[in-house]
Structure formats: C-alpha cells, structure tokens
C-alpha cells in the first residue's frame, strides 16, 4: 500500500529506524526493524498492532524519549539524536500516556496545564494565555482551579491533552489514551481530539487497540513484530485479508460493509464507522 504523507509537508520522518533493547545476558530484543515512515502536517494517524509489535517504542521515538539504535527520526528536519534539538522536539511533539493518574504533576488544574509552558521559560502572561486557551480547547475551563485527582478519568486525560497543548505542539502522540476510560470518557476525549485535528489542524498520532476509535483516522498504520505491515486509509486496511491474518479484528461496521460488498450489494466501501453508515442509509 502506498505510504501517505508523501504529498503533504512531512513533519515526521523515520528513515531506516531500528530499535533494540538490551536484555539479561547481553541479549537484545528488536522492538522496531528498519521502519520507514512519513507523517504529514495535519494528519490524523492511527497506529494498531498486537501487544509487543513496537507501537509504544515508536511513539517514544517521536518525542526523543527514546533514541533509535540505528536510522534517523526527523521532526521538522531535526534529528532526535542531536542533543541541541531535543528541547525543541519535546515542544513540537506532545505526548499523552495511557494512565491518567500517572500524568498528574501539580495539585491544581491550571498549574498542571502550565507546567510544560513554564519549562519553556515563557512570560507568566504568555503562560496564562496558553493555559486558558488549552483548557478552552479541551472543555475544562470551568475546572481551572480544581484538584486534578478529583476529576474523572476522561477529564484527567483531557487535562493531560491540555497540558501538552499548552506547549503549542505541532503534533500530539497519544499512547492508548482511552484504555482506562469508560464509554462517556472515551467519547468526550475522541471528540476533543477530532476537534483539535479538524479545527486547529493539529497532527495527531493515536495508538489504540480499539478499532472503532482508529476508524476515524485519515490513515491507519499496522505494526507487527517491529515492522510496518500495512499503511493506508482505514477502509483499505480493514478490508484487507492481511489485517485479520495479523490477528486483528476490524470494527463491526467495517465488517458489515465488507460482508455487504462481498455479497454484491451496492454500498460505499469506505464506510467504517456507525456515523458514516447512518449517513449513508439515512441521507
């Protein structure tokens, strides 16, 4: 499948990237093997794969939390292995992790959001502006002076997104952000992310095991044993036999669409979400 992001301006490029981890007894485990990938500005990219496929390693390479064993990771042309670029890379690529509780640093919501912006040595007035904007963007303005540990799981994750947004990143990487949330929390977080992507043109890279969430992405990348096996629009990836061969299951709507197409019914092959199906059936 053709790799997308080639026609758009690329903000992230991985060139022959491999990553190995040392294990006991001088053994190494290869987490990523010769990855070549480009992600364009404003894309909403989903990353799927079985446990141990290298998704989290890939996410951490993008923020320079991890450095590649070989190859290059370029963020807007900046090599993550160059120490002089790491500060700017950390600003440009924000990260949200899986566990909402483990991401809370400060005891008040506005200070939690301000933490990253303060680290950039911005003026207090600028920090305050960014805090207000970030809280507005995630719908938590009313909770500005609340204690983060009293928020719901979904609110905490949106707070983590706001904390990353305050640094005005060009890209947001989310590593299984909804895995510890209930249904309402997931919906609100996803709605927030879609809004950030569509209205603010924020590049979003989301790792998830939930295919319904990844179905809304512009592009879906599937990792398996440290390599990119599939890369394309979700409707193409879900309908490919290779997808199920890799041990993954498409979302129910995509399965229904695929079945209807195979049975010869006239239906848009690109329908992979419930909203798309409803819109198609009830225009």
């Amino acid at each position: 499948m053709a790799q997308q992001g080639e026609t758009m301006g690329r903000i992230i490029e991985l060139i022959n990237v491999s990553k190995e981890y040392l294990q006991a007894g001088d053994n190494t485990r290869q987490a990523l093997a010769d990855i070549n990938l480009g992600i364009g500005a404003g894309e909403l990219v989903g990353i799927a794969g079985m446990n141990g496929s290298g998704k989290t390693t890939l996410a951490r390479l993008l923020n320079a939390l991890l450095l590649p064993s070989s190859g290059k990771v370029l963020i807007n042309g900046m090599d993550t292995t160059e120490p002089g670029y790491q500060q700017e890379i950390r600003r440009q690529v924000g990260m949200v992790f899986q566990n909402p509780d483990n991401q809370i640093i400060n005891p008040i919501v506005d200070e939690e959001v301000a933490f990253g912006a303060e680290n950039l040595n911005l003026s207090p007035a600028e920090v305050r502006r960014r805090v207000n904007w970030a809280l507005e963007a995630v719908g938590l303005s009313d909770l500005c002076y609340h204690a983060p540990h009293l928020l719901s799981g979904g609110q905490k994750q949106r707070l983590a997104v706001a904390a990353a947004l305050a640094m005005r990143p060009e890209c947001l990487v989310l590593d299984e952000p909804t895995s510890m949330l209930d249904q309402p929390g997931r919906r609100k977080l996803l709605k927030c992310l879609l809004q950030l992507n569509r209205e603010h043109h924020l590049t979003i890279i989301m790792i998830s095991h939930c295919m319904e969430e990844l179905a809304v992405a512009d592009r879906l990348i599937v990792l398996h044993e440290g390599a990119v096996h599939m890369d394309g629009p979700p409707w193409v990836v879900f309908s490919s036999p290779q997808f199920t061969a890799l041990g993954l299951k498409p979302p129910p709507i995509a399965s229904i669409t695929g079945s209807l197409v195979r049975q010869g019914h006239q239906i848009d092959k690109k329908i992979v979400t419930l909203e798309q199906m409803v819109e198609y059936l009830c225009p």
Binding site: Q86, Q87, F97, N102, G116, N119, L122, A164
Partner: protein, 241 residues
C-alpha cells in the same frame, strides 16, 4: 488575612531554633504555648493536634523514662534500695526532651496551614533551586501514593484468604517484609512514569523556567518576619549572656 508561606517558614525556623537551644522546661513550655497560639491564629484545628501526636506518645514516654533514669542530680525522688532511679535533674531533663519534640512538631504543623504548592513557590522565591523545591513537592505527593499502594497490596493478600489482624506478630512482621517489595516496586514504577511525563513536557529542557504564579509579601508578612527575627535574636542573646 492571608500570610505568606515564607513568613510561616521563618516562624517555624525561629521557634524550632529556640527549642533546640533552650534546656529549661519552663522556657520550652512557653515556646509550646506560643506555637499552639500561632496554630490557633492561623486557623489550624487545635483538636486535631491530639490525632497527629498520638503516634508519638509511646516514643515520648520512652524518651522521658530514659532521661529520668539516666540523668542524675538534685533531689532524689525514687530509689530501689541503694539505687537512685529518679531525681529532679532527671525529671527536668525528661520534661525538656519531651517538650522540645512537642515544640518542633507543633511548629512544623504551621506549614500545613498553607498549600504545598505555595510552600514550594515560597522556597523557589527564596532562591532554593527549583529541582530541590520540586523534590519536596513530589515527596509530599508520593507519601499518600505509598500508603495507597500498601493498602492495595494488603487488600490483595486479604483476598487470598489471609486475615492480617489474626496473624501472630512474628509472622506479621515477616509478612510485611515480603509485602514491602511490591509496594516499593509499584511506587518506583509510578515515579518512573511520572518522570517520563515530566521529560515529555520539557522539564529541565531549558536552564531557566518561569512560574505562572508569584507570591507577594504584604505588610502583615513584614511585621511577622521582623517580629519573629527580633524576638529570636533577643532571646538568643539573652540565653548566651
């Protein structure tokens, strides 16, 4: 009237400093009264002090007895045969030790009347390096986490049919020694995850950082700090002379 945490820190330092220098139970009792009065003035619930001090009761009793038994001098109050057990010097020394500890603990409670973030901000504005002040803040945050992890592990053990309250003391100590490992491990894991989040948000990326809030000193703070320093210096000089 909101008092700056730096004023409270200075009060704690002055009172604790005097407590370390005084050896007279009467002076220490007066210091204790001053610390209790300050706690009341800063709207600390005096009734809660008992709860905070309860874990220290056995320690204070042991220290009092040790001082009584091993400090000799003055009038003898209790003997067993030829052995002098308790003398007036011992009682005075015991009372002094207990009162000193009470003064230090009570004055430290003054710091709980301000939020931890104000406390850290106060340290930073006193030119304490941010990393050290931040360590204080994170330590305060991790204490309840440690307690929660311990509770989780104990619950997990209870779910496996072990009722810790009914276990004999010797076996209980051995069991807690085993349980401490997963608690420490899980807490360190949380600490590692938090450090990753902090790095991802640019912690120490630049040599300087700014702060969203600033603490300002008002006239009441200047009065408190001047008074505290003046009185402390006078008392110290008086003690020395």
């Amino acid at each position: 009237m909101k008092v700056d945490p730096r004023s409270k820190m200075l009060l704690v330092i002055c009172i604790s400093g005097l407590a370390l220098i005084y050896n007279n139970p009467l002076q220490l009792a007066l210091l204790l009264a001053v610390s209790l009065a300050l706690l009341g003035a800063f709207r600390f619930d005096i009734g809660m002090i008992g709860g905070y001090l309860r874990p220290l009761v056995s320690l204070l009793l042991i220290l009092f007895l040790i001082q009584c038994l091993f400090t000799k001098g003055g009038q003898v109050w209790l003997t067993i045969g030829q052995l002098e057990l308790v003398s007036s010097a011992g009682l005075i020394a015991g009372a002094s030790v207990v009162l000193r500890i009470l003064v230090v603990v009570n004055s430290a409670m003054l710091l709980t009347t301000c939020s931890s973030r104000d406390f850290v901000l106060g340290l930073i504005q006193w030119k304490v390096p941010y990393e050290i002040a931040f360590m204080v803040s994170i330590a305060l945050r991790f204490l309840p986490l440690f307690r929660d992890e311990m509770q989780n592990v104990i619950t997990a053990v209870q779910l496996r049919g072990v009722e810790l309250k009914k276990v004999a003391w010797g076996e209980k100590i051995s069991m807690y020694r085993t349980l401490i490992f997963p608690v420490v491990y899980r807490t360190m894991l949380k600490a590692q995850q938090l450090s990753i989040v902090m790095e991802a948000r640019g912690f120490r990326a630049y040599p300087r950082r700014t702060y969203l809030r600033r603490l300002d000193l008002y006239w009441a703070d200047y009065v408190i700090m001047s008074l505290a320093l003046t009185v402390t210096v006078i008392l110290l000089v008086g003690q020395i002379l």
